[in-house]
Amino acid sequence: MTEQGRVLRQITYTAAMTAIMEAAKFSLNSIANVELITLLVIVFTRRFGWKMTLAASLLFAVLECMWWGIATWSAVYFYIWPLLILFTVLVPSSQDPLVYSILAGAFGLLFGAFCSLFTLVTAGWNAAVAWWIAGIPYDLVHGVSNFVICLLLFKPLQKALSYIHA
């Protein structure tokens, strides 16, 4: 394949990944703290690499801002998914869904803590800690749901993506 064709394919895949993430977000919007984005980011990073997934996650953040408006969480979206991409790259590669379920679970548990980093910068230590503690019940739900979703869907999703040339 020519260089031009390769770039074209990467752009197309990035657009498709962004669309899938956006559709997944909308599909579970009504269930608080249950989401598919963590799973998708992990699987995409493994299949397509960190660069394309990073581009897709940033586009996803932009689309979310366009849809919901700019709010305090907007800044969070621009660093929290790249952070998950980094963790996925750092985890030793494995075919075992349990490995990525542990990652997804831990990420869900710490989601509020990562979000509160923004509060730390904008409102200080006390506000960040209070904000994080108040949200812990939601982080616990997030962690458990991420773990279960990844355990159930990691393999089927990975198999589906294996038919696509990365």
């Binding site: 408006g69 349990l98 542990i102 831990a106 616990l140």
Partner: protein, 135 residues
């Protein structure tokens, strides 16, 4: 160390993290005061006009207080439960929609910006709870 052992250790650490977070949350719960309390609920609308409700209540949390005042007929609110608890959308018929004009209903407790959602904000005797339309 075998990979299987590493996986189970990682899982155990995540469980310890979850338990630790739960205990941090439980030990930092603001104690709600039970019994008869005299509190004030204020509503500041988009025009800056304030409506005040003086209430005697046994409500433990602000959302319960709002439910009680709503039953009195002169106050109403609507909201939805989101990722971080009860999110107030409409008060006394006035809707704040952040996605439209960056407006929202803020909670103030004794003049300070509240640190909790309406369903986790404790109600204390003598407390002044303000719902303010802000942009």
């Amino acid at each position: 160390m075998k990979n299987t052992a590493k996986k189970w250790i990682a899982l155990a650490l995540v469980l310890v993290l979850a338990l630790g977070m739960f205990f941090i949350w439980r030990n930092n719960q603001p104690a709600a005061q039970e019994g008869s309390k005299e509190v004030t609920l204020e509503v500041v609308d988009s025009k800056g006009e304030t409506k005040t409700y003086s209430v005697k209540t046994d409500a433990e949390y602000l959302s319960q207080l709002m439910d009680e005042v709503q039953k009195s007929g002169d106050f109403s609110y609507e909201g939805s439960v989101g990722d971080y608890g009860l999110f107030i959308e409409t008060v006394n018929g006035e809707t704040a929609d952040y996605s439209v004009d960056q407006s929202y209903w803020a909670i103030y407790v004794n003049g300070d910006m509240g640190q909790y959602g309406a369903d986790t904000q404790p109600v204390e005797d003598g407390g002044v709870y303000r719902l303010a339309y802000e942009k």
